[in-house]
Assembly symmetry: C2
Amino acid sequence: MQPSAQLEQVLKQHGQSVTAARQAVLAALQGQEPLTMGELVIRCNDIDRATVYRSVALFERLSIVQRLQAGWKYKLELSDAFHEHHHHATCLHCGQVVPLSEDPKLEAYLHDLAVAYNFTLRKHQIELSGLCATCQPTVGSL
Amino acid sequence: MQPSAQLEQVLKQHGQSVTAARQAVLAALQGQEPLTMGELVIRCNDIDRATVYRSVALFERLSIVQRLQAGWKYKLELSDAFHEHHHHATCLHCGQVVPLSEDPKLEAYLHDLAVAYNFTLRKHQIELSGLCATCQPTVGSL
DNA sequence: CATAAATTGCGACAAAGTTGCAAAAATAAT
DNA sequence: ATTATTTTTGCAACTTTGTCGCAATTTATG
Ligand SMILES: [Zn+2]
Ligand SMILES: [Zn+2]
Ligand SMILES: [Zn+2]
Ligand SMILES: [Zn+2]
């Protein structure tokens, strides 16, 4: 299903209106890389800051987007129902975020871990940080 | 080694001064639960906000503290050299953060994963979110 | 203890995020 | 299709969070 159609469906399911602003926010998030809130606001430049914030808050409640800690600031990306489920590796030097393809064993592992702590697992996040292949020669310390 | 002594050592190793403010910030972070920046500022109430921010920034550069995404806001906690390495499960309903004891198999797995992507892994984070044992009966939806 | 270097507090500022409310748009009803 | 009802939007004012320059204080050095 097309992401925009899927958005429409999720919004209606929850009694929320389908609006131009919300569609624009979704569209802005469809790129490859996760975005900071600031970047997102810029990409939605016909839409008021407050509206972007309100849309993101709604999307987070409806599990349409998720926020992840990428180095210093948090970033936003579409969540599993819209993208494939995946994790990230962030380069500490150049800041690039590389998506990692899903690993069923790892997923199973996390599930068992949650069970061991009597947690009903709703979502999870793994963030690796280090140096990407390109930056490894460049950097000595850090 | 006592955390305060360890702080002194790390600071000196990097040519940084050992000051009352920095010791106070470390002390405030020694409690069990990770703290938001706001909470930390409150617990350091003789110290200026700007100084707390500057200390945290320094501590982050020296890998004394790490920030983690706990639900909505980020939180700070002492990093692996000061606490045992561990991960977290956050309850979506009551917000409590439960530390998970280290699992060597999982750690090895992450290491291999990074290698597969040509990443030199420097650190990593796993955040589980869901409902804790206490909140499971309370909540139907969410 | 005196000197040099680094850190702190302060105040002013910039950026990020929130809120109330009237106008506009979306849905529901006729 | 029009109108009525409900929800959302933009705006502007505001709070919170985070940053910066600089003089006063503290820390390190000898
Ligand atoms: Zn890189
Ligand atoms: Zn996963
Ligand atoms: Zn709970
Ligand atoms: Zn680990």
